[in-house]
Assembly symmetry: D2
Homo-oligomer: 484 residues x 4
């Protein structure tokens, strides 16, 4: 029941024939909704004329039949779902970002975070550029447009721009006649390529979007690769590949990605099952039932059950209508917010020794409430197992973990945490078992668990100055409500 | 993955102290949302002044913080969620129904369906009454109001009115100073009573709503019972009890109720686990994995796995953002609609002999698509098991089953159905094992499985005339889209 | 600049051919918008199937192209605009009222107010009727429906029902196959009949609606007349005519009706010009310019100028975007609210002796502010002339005049009022010159000016009890903001 | 009844004390609503933190009480109303434009049109700038920001930027600590300065906004002047003044400005009265009544009546609820659209010789319909007089006149036009009598009447290429519907 958020999901399609593409992009974004619930957008490119629909809300709320139909036909289309990581976000940051520069007309969708966004922005502004959004995506766009002024093609401009960009970026870009996918040299965020039966080529953050639109998965975009699709065919620029180690975000396997996605050949569901199996080996315990916190703890719970031989049980019913709009009730009921989302099944846990699997503990508050619910439902013993290591460091690559000062694992031992949240025992997965997959040979970024950043990272004072400066929003900054 | 719908959920609260009740009712309706997603309403009674908020939409969409706060304080409140069974519904049918008759002022919430709605309405109209809605709830209101003219109290009027009502009704009614709960003598629909720590008494369709608001469950309202709460205490009128056999809807256990609810002392989750266990006994098969169709097939799948010893697996990922607003894509994609909602986990089923558990087959179309998805994901054998008997008859007590002519089991043998949906074997639960619970002694209505109606039922010609007559809507009748 | 409100405008059409009628009704309601800005509705009757669109808001806001098109084709249609006179109104009172009784199916639109609404409602309730709205229109509907049970036709039922109704009502009713227009025997509210080139017959509150749809005006419906149009032709029931004196509301000429309407053969614009001429004769003064308060004082100002020979000037510019939604600014600005709506033209009044014409003074506050604006713009003398007599009594026939206790003329002499609002002289029109038209022979109701009610009127204690009782609203009662 | 549109109105306020400024800006924009009905925005600057609310719609629709309150307190605020002149506009063009460049943070509101927008944009893009909107306001912002990099202050940057800008611009700009007003050297668009009693300084497009907020008018901003208000006081940079002739848009007097505004010391109402007087001298005729087409023809009609001695009459009633949302009815009714907005007063014109005053004829269609309405209402003779010369040329300074090819005066003589629109005689005002005011000494731009442009103007081929290129909209381009 992680309260940690990914920022974005991206999708792009290049069709050999002019047709209605918005439905396909819509369906793909629907499948990628878990990667961003704050806003979404589609840009359809009909022979150089870009038409877009972008708004705040869920995919199914934004894209009414009329909106989809008004997007018309096209050859290329790009889509994006977004989760905002800042309290001062606004309508201006919705993607795809449209650029109508006379040489660099494009629609751009970005997943990830630059680590040099602030100095890059400062440098661009000092040469007379104006930024309209608070997102680093605009800095990417500027870098490409300015490279384009001296580059023979848009894909060459992307490649040149990549020399200025540091950090995490999986990009899908439509120029007037081409569809381009690019991934940073570390490959922090996933990006895969697929094909539809009619010959259309698609790019997506996850394979679940390929499944949703009926595309076959061809392969991952390589770290550092720039793939360009046009009527002339597919061209791969690998000039940025192999310059550095692959560092795919480990949390994609642990929490972000949908279990039915396959990343670098590895099933996310299987990765979580195996995390559960490793947990069972690392932290065995005598118990009567293994239950998971829905939804992200369920796979690991089944893995723990399989490995340990303790029966798997359904421990909670999750209210499936919980949405962004749920109103936190008054003081008396606020204490009960977790119980509004989750209701324990007394018949599963009453009088039992329970192994409880979750994917993370951030501040500990949510875990304490879940444990308390189980106690009231009659659980005799509760042994909590976390299918990831403790969080100790901030992520600069597009994940919105809490302020490191608020992370419970930065201030307390495992024993102290166990006592604070009220469990009889607590065990975390070891870093070396993350994400514990034989099938994938890719290197993983585990910086949030061990503080070993694969790149230089912004110093915080500059970051906060930057954020203060750009506080020009269409609304008052919302009071940010965070819970663990 | 049943496409069958319950009509309503009801809730009521009587508080010894004047306070903000809307938040509590809101939280309860949130927990009852699965019983009706079309509209919702709350009526707060502040010493005889009724203030309401009723609208089309989901509970969390309708009740903004402003709306909840505008409902103000009160002593008594009533809430309702509704699923509309007709294509000609409108805003007028939203409940709670408010009656401002000088002797019978009340707010009324109803779950169920009268079987004598048409003759009752005709009789009332022929004496000069005017109906404003197309719901049978208004006929109940009329019966109570007219009984009230000669009755010493509102609860006496309810009791008198019950003599005219036939069919299914679980009612929660607020008069200016009393909260009344009543259940038809067969007890078709559930209705339970609970208490909050501050002494408030609450009524709800299911215990999951009691859990959500922090109330302890006291007991079920008895079939035929009228319970009245006022400042004078609780009064139970049992004059209609025991006149006939209890006939709780079996499908509440199989599909409607939330697994964390307890009805007549029986856990719904346990009932479904046991249905799975019975299925394993009735229809054993050699297989490698047991999977359920989310969400309602998961409990029975676990039961089947436990009884058979075949490992339980997670077979599908369900898109959790599927809402009322999902747009059916174009022709090419329409074939794919099930795959947009459900994506099979290849790593679970590839090369395996699979036992697939679902709770029902209506027309067979949905089942055929699910099976086809599993085949594409590599399933070697598929043995489908249904945790209920085949549907063969219409329900007149508040469940929206398809037209009996469209029910696949009315036209085909089990073997034919297996072939039509493409499975290697198919097995239904036997009627005598529904819902297979030792804990509950209540009689069950299984009319949709065996056609044995506990009451007389409307003849269809009168019903269709009735519906034609009352076609005065605020919109053109929507084209009804139904899928199985 | 009167703050007094009419309650309603009605329209109906019977077309010999099935066609799209909603556009015509929409256009007519648009022209009648001044008679009610709170809500509007259209009911289209397509061979007995009634489809409606009714909502809160202005006509042009409610009826989008989609809504109009969704109303489909029909033979008969009825429309209504409404101004609510109570603070506890709600969506339920929006007209046309739809009645789906098996013998009395109809859509009903009503302009006026019954004086026996309370006893009629009490009588109906005591025989078991339930009221859903707080409007007296429902009592009319009940009376018709109950009469219909024993009547040979709907028009006979209307005629019978009229025996039970007292007060003001201009009705347009669509039964499955007929369009009926009826007017109370006093003829308090106007109602006229016209014809379109294609043979359609239309009824409207004012002739301006006939002009808007391109219909020729045929004649007024007579006081007490019931006109029925069906495929059999036009039938006039005059059995209630001539029983009492005609008493058309004088304020229709003074303020309510649009100047381009013609009532009983008299031009409203001419009536106001003549009121101005009479004022000039009754209250002459030496001055440099005559100006009117927009919009309703302009005609009388021109009449005063013509009679007196003093030049006519444009004294104020009115902000034409003032709508229902204007937000009253904070304390400092609230004092300025009149100046936001009206800005005096300094070049017209600076250094001049000004005759200022308005149609009424209610509490005096607005007048005082207007006078103050003129003083600041340099007016040397201000001589106010009111084109109506002083208000001294409540209206029970559909006009929302302020509480008689708040009317300035009930507590002060003309001289005192002049001093209070800051003018150099003040003159009201004499009652015998209202509305001062040779062309019309109709009797006028001037009860608000002289307290001579043509009917018995409700005693206030019963009225307040009645209103208290029916306070069951979908919102908290709004704080009523009234200004003069 | 001109169908010609102004593009914008601007407002700014600098308050010595931190306070709620949004209400004041709201009130001012309300008074300026006639200058732009498509979108509106307010930016409040609270010590360098800019909060904005900008949306599509009317001022009173956008700024709910919640929105105004959410804008909070501040020292400086800027507001804007906008009419879009292109069919491809979108949400992105709503002003005030927010710039968050580290040296040039500002909110900018602009009225007017640059004549070198295309080459300026091309030049900026070729140096790596990216434009987000299709408005030339962004080119102004870029020019200021880039000048700011080398300028000692924001006001110095504005002054430097003005060297690059050609055409019409009245600007109000808030930097973190200053409020700046600037006007192009020709002074095409008006801009005035006023003071509130508390010492706040305000800038507005027209004095009617000063009246609305209770400010005294101090003076016009001079053509070419840059006025800066900060806590250090008021500073006027006149370095661009006097370089060229003043060329205030003549159509501001004829149509755009509100009659109660005063521009350069001249009352707009008086200017129109005098235009009417000149018309009477230039084109006298024997007639019985003089009427104006509401609203913009009324002042000139009164002037004509005064000069000629022919009585002034009220000839039309205009529906005051006509809004943006009015739906053009079907074919039969489309012919009647003018009659839905305007209804002639038969009692004024029947049997009379009528002088009809309007402010312009564009294509002639509307005039023909108005004349036809008067004929049907009985007018015996119709002598049309236009209070402006004929349109023959496009405006490049912010007025949306029709395509010159569509202007009736470009293809026909006055006699031909008279025949085409069906009048007995027709007369236009002579150019030398525009706007015919002794009080104002300012030079006027009359290019739309005589084709003498005070600046170089874009050549059309570049313009169309430019517009094609920047077609990247959030919607499909709307079919543009224009009527005269």
């Amino acid at each position: 029941m992680t309260e940690i958020h990914e920022e974005c999901g991206v999708f792009g399609i290049f069709s050999p024939n002019r047709r209605s593409l918005a439905e396909i992009v819509y369906t793909a974004l629907y499948a990628l909704q878990h990667r961003g619930q704050e806003s979404a957008g589609i840009a359809v490119n009909d022979d150089g004329i870009f038409t877009t629909c972008r708004d705040i809300g869920l995919v199914a709320e934004i894209f009414t039949r009329e909106k989809i139909s008004s997007l018309g036909n096209g050859n290329i289309a790009v889509g994006h779902v977004r989760y905002s990581t800042t309290g001062m976000d606004s309508r201006r940051n919705i993607q795809p970002l449209l650029i109508n520069h006379y040489k660099g007309q494009m629609a751009l969708a970005h997943n990830g975070n630059l680590t040099n966004a602030f100095p890059l922005r400062r440098e661009l502004e000092s040469r007379g550029s104006i930024f309209h959004s608070t997102s680093d995506t605009e800095a990417i766009a500027y870098s490409i447009v300015q490279a384009r002024l001296g580059a023979p093609s848009i894909e060459a401009a992307v490649s040149t721009a990549m020399d200025r960009l540091e950090g995490a970026y999986s990009l899908v870009i439509s120029s007037p006649s081409k569809l381009i996918a690019a991934r940073d040299p570390h490959g922090f965020r996933p990006l895969c390529m697929g094909a539809l039966p009619d010959g259309s080529v698609v790019f997506a953050s996850e394979t679940c979007a390929l499944d949703a639109v009926g595309a076959d998965c061809l392969r991952e975009i390589l770290p550092g690769e720039v793939v360009t699709i046009s009527n002339d065919g597919l061209f791969s620029d690998m000039s940025h590949c192999g310059r550095t180690e692959e560092k795919l975000c480990a949390f994609e396997f642990i929490y972000f990605a949908r279990p039915d996605s396959v990343i670098n050949g590895a099933s996310v569901h299987q990765a979580r099952l195996r995390a559960g199996r490793f947990l069972a080996k690392e932290h065995p315990v005598a118990a009567d039932v293994v239950i998971g916190v829905p939804d992200s703890g369920l796979d690991a719970a089944l893995g723990y059950a399989q490995e340990s031989g303790i029966p798997y049980g359904i421990g909670f019913i999750k209210n499936k209508y919980i949405g962004r709009t749920f109103i936190a009730p008054d003081q008396m009921l606020r204490e009960r917010d977790v119980s509004i989302k989750l209701n324990p099944l007394r018949s599963t846990v009453d009088g039992k020794r329970v192994v409880l699997i979750d994917d993370s503990i951030v501040r500990g508050t949510t875990s304490r409430r879940i444990v308390s619910l189980l106690r009231k439902a009659g659980a005799k013993e509760i042994h909590m197992r976390i299918s990831a290591p403790p969080f100790i460091a901030a992520c600069y690559y597009g994940t919105d973990i809490d302020d490191p000062d608020k992370l419970i694992a930065n201030h307390h031992t495992v024993e102290e945490i166990a006592e604070m949240i009220g469990v009889d025992s607590l065990g975390y997965l070891r870093v070396e078992n993350v994400p514990c997959l034989p099938e994938t040979s890719c290197g993983l970024c585990t910086a949030c668990f061990d503080g070993r950043y694969p790149t230089s990272v912004p110093d915080d004072s500059s970051k906060s100055r930057f954020e203060r400066k750009i506080h020009m929003s269409d609304e008052r900054p919302k009071q940010e409500i965070k819970q663990t």
